[in-house]
Subunit: 332 residues, 2 copies
Amino acid sequence: MVDYLHSYDSCKALVTGGLGFIGSNLARRLVDLGAQVTIVDSLIPDYGGNLFNIAGYEDRLRVNIADVRDPYSMRALVKGQDVLFNLAGQVSHMDSMIEPFTDLEINARSQLSILEACRYENPSIRIVYAGTRQQYGKPRYLPLDEDHIQAPTDVNGVNKMAGEWFHMVYHTAYGLRTTSLRLTNTYGPRQLIKHNRQGFIGWFVRLAIEGKTIQLYGDGQQLRDLTYVDDVVDAFLRAGANNAACGEVFNLGGQTPISLLELAKLIVHIAGRGDVELVPWPEERKKIDIGDVYSSYAHIQTVLGWTPTTPLVDGLARMITYCSEHYDRYAV
Amino acid sequence: MVDYLHSYDSCKALVTGGLGFIGSNLARRLVDLGAQVTIVDSLIPDYGGNLFNIAGYEDRLRVNIADVRDPYSMRALVKGQDVLFNLAGQVSHMDSMIEPFTDLEINARSQLSILEACRYENPSIRIVYAGTRQQYGKPRYLPLDEDHIQAPTDVNGVNKMAGEWFHMVYHTAYGLRTTSLRLTNTYGPRQLIKHNRQGFIGWFVRLAIEGKTIQLYGDGQQLRDLTYVDDVVDAFLRAGANNAACGEVFNLGGQTPISLLELAKLIVHIAGRGDVELVPWPEERKKIDIGDVYSSYAHIQTVLGWTPTTPLVDGLARMITYCSEHYDRYAV
């Protein structure tokens, strides 16, 4: 299973959303593996793109500022690339409810543009898309596997689902070599902690670092699974290097599900600061709450040999250290 | 079960796509039931809208020519309505592959506009959306039920899926009273027969009427189910009148599945003209073929008491008579 890493030596890789949390960790790893990396990012404020995410790598990769909504730029950018890691997206479900059309443009329409660009300019490129477990909505059974119906409960989930299925259709109809990874809660260094609209982990970590109180709704017993960013990066690398992944959808998943209360306490414990408090559910949040949710990674384990390997305690410790050291680069 | 029909007396009903095949049959029925009907249709050439579809009803309903892609018109039009039958759409999967962005605008983006219009201008309106069994893609088991995963194989299926799930999200998050009916192959009077890009039934009927040969790929043994348009109209009426349908997705389905070969022979027999021929699969069609496909209507039968009641032979006879009589209004 080491071979897939060697395959990136001298490989030309395009990473959309490459200044974001997961994209930048992936881009840095690709550079380390000898790839010629081009990052595409529009640095939309609040979305997670941050030039500091590639600190130390500025001269070893190319940054192309462009918006994936711009079809002409994308046509030029996909030319000559070996692999496209397609991570650009609007990832806040709260924002998707406030600006549903922006979410549709970025997460659905742009994906169609990117696929059309690949179809015409570079039909043999390998494409790995970042899907999300939000596509499933409220679980009917646990853990979620890829056969669970998709019943998203927010606009973001609908558009991410559409974005994923455009990738599948372009595989079936045109033979494009696409894969989708349905990410669960990813955490680690370079994650956005500026606001609380992109998931709870970054926000919990920030509150702890600041010595503040993490508020949890209800009894805090809702179970979640978390995947450390290096493990997610490894899944992208495996998918992009293995043709058995073409036309496939894979869940990522964490090791053992953990309750939000346990997680918050663990973060406070590792940070050595902060506090945890239970508060009643706000009515409008209760309506869209999906209860316990965690995913099975059995399919990707079988096909690509991937498992999450970073213990939660280690991953959180690394994240908290990184966020504390570089607080000024992320918090403001 | 007669009550739901009475509920349309004096009801204000908006029918998007109301000059199209199913929309016009629904609008005519609503007028007969005493409803005050407003049709919204953009009469995009080749999409199925046809002013002749409301012949005899022109003075008994209001026709508002507008495109559902226009958010401002939709805001004005939904005001004061009791029920919205949301049938406007691009329904050709071939066209969706040639013009994927147009398909996305009409089938996904417009649905979001319509829902936003309802949310702000008329949050208590009842909304019934026309989904499609194409959302399921290639069946994993038969008959298809609502728990079957959605894995569309064309751009149209992806966008219709997104359009449906926007309806579900607006129910969950904002309490809009939405329902989706996943239509299978609908047939009957006022169906488009001008070209072969909107399903096979209209085209088979046209060929038979013209005394031409119906060509089938392979052995013609692929099974399909068909629903007569009056039965589909009845499903919309039941869904729009019953709050038990809110937030629900229902398959429609035909009586007994029939092979394309049997169906073509039946059409030729009833028309008393035409012929049937088996030809080899074209490579690019084989790739997107989904084999046998038919749906279970058990869920809508349980909740709304709907079953398909029109025997195929009767429905086809009525369609063939209508198409023959009004050939000039539909064929050119």
